[in-house]
Symmetry: C2
Subunit: 174 residues, 2 copies
DNA sequence: CCGGGTCGGTTCATTCATCGAACCAATAGG
DNA sequence: CCTATTGGTTCGATGAATGAACCGACCCGG
């Protein structure tokens, strides 16, 4: 995008957040991380993002403490990018944005629905379970395709895996 | 930013929202509109944004139905930009982002606080009043500088007006 | 040990967006 | 007539995004 710059020191907190996650692609990368995407090649294949941009964004997010980069096998050495607690706290932002798009761009048709794992209740936009009334953490949330899902639009491993219900933050691919 | 492009047709609603409000500066413009900024020159003076970018963004937001451009005097002809209902629905996104920055960049120190006009209770991140428990619409919310406010950083009409408590959406300047 | 393939990058030339200063038109006020 | 204000547009310079090519480390099969 877009920022990373000073962004005028005004509305402290909003501007500070935008400097970190306001750049083009960044929030889509974070969203994929919630879906359980962890590897460079999977982000790449799912987002159609230039490699240089992906590398840069991942590095920025790691430096900001939103993602943790960790080695998951030694030979050949392979790292994966996993959301930290700080990254998981971005969930309300993603939910608020999805909801707005759903209401105002897609005429109220959801392309993904979120359920409270176990209890099975729908999770409302504030993250509260409609059945048991408890706030639902991302880790206890199940995503599934909704009525507006366009299942044919893309065909990559991540898209295919997302056709089945899946718990947030769990690794999506082997 | 950043977008405006196709943005891969994947996560329908999030990507659609980002295409509209994900570009650099856009969300800061919308935030200012919530604060009651309505005129071109006030946005300009407060944000330190290039004029061409401001013109472009305002036009995009009007076309998207987020802002309404309306004539408020005939001679000389002057227009103001006011949030529509669709624009007001962006408030949860701004609140979620401010909150994240407050918690994770500013160590929990708020630079602005929000109160339920009338009842006076603090408004929590979900938009619920801590005193009366009711959901608080932006129009019933009062903004005031918080403990982390840096009142000296800038000096323009908007910044000066924001030093006093003010109701959201009400015109900030004469 | 050689050849081919995969993964996770970097490099680089082109294109596009942002920046900031200058310019401009309409109008008001003196 | 002269000057100031508002709300823009235009334009050259800079910086970021794009996409294709390249690369090094390592695995596997033969």
């Amino acid at each position: 995008m877009a920022l990373g710059k000073d962004y005028e020191q005004q509305d402290c907190s909003l501007a500070r957040t935008l400097e970190l996650v306001g750049e083009r692609w960044t929030l889509l990368i974070v969203r994929d991380a919630f879906y359980g995407v962890r590897r460079y090649s999977d982000f790449l294949g799912h987002l159609d993002i230039p490699r240089a941009v992906l590398s840069g964004r991942l590095q920025t997010l790691v430096e900001a403490g939103v993602l943790d980069r960790r080695r998951y096998q030694e030979s050949p050495p392979r790292d994966e990018y996993v959301l930290t607690e700080r990254g998981i706290d971005l969930w309300p932002i993603l939910r608020a944005m999805s909801r707005w798009g759903e209401q105002h761009v897609q005429n109220g048709v959801a392309c993904r629905i979120y359920r409270h794992e176990g209890c099975g209740g729908a999770v409302d936009p504030h993250g509260v379970c409609a059945v048991c009334g408890a706030p639902v953490a991302p880790a206890d949330t199940e995503v599934a395709p909704g009525p507006g899902a366009n299942l044919l639009r893309r065909d990559d491993p991540v898209t295919r895996a997302m056709r089945r219900p899946h718990r947030l933050l769990e690794p999506l691919l082997p």
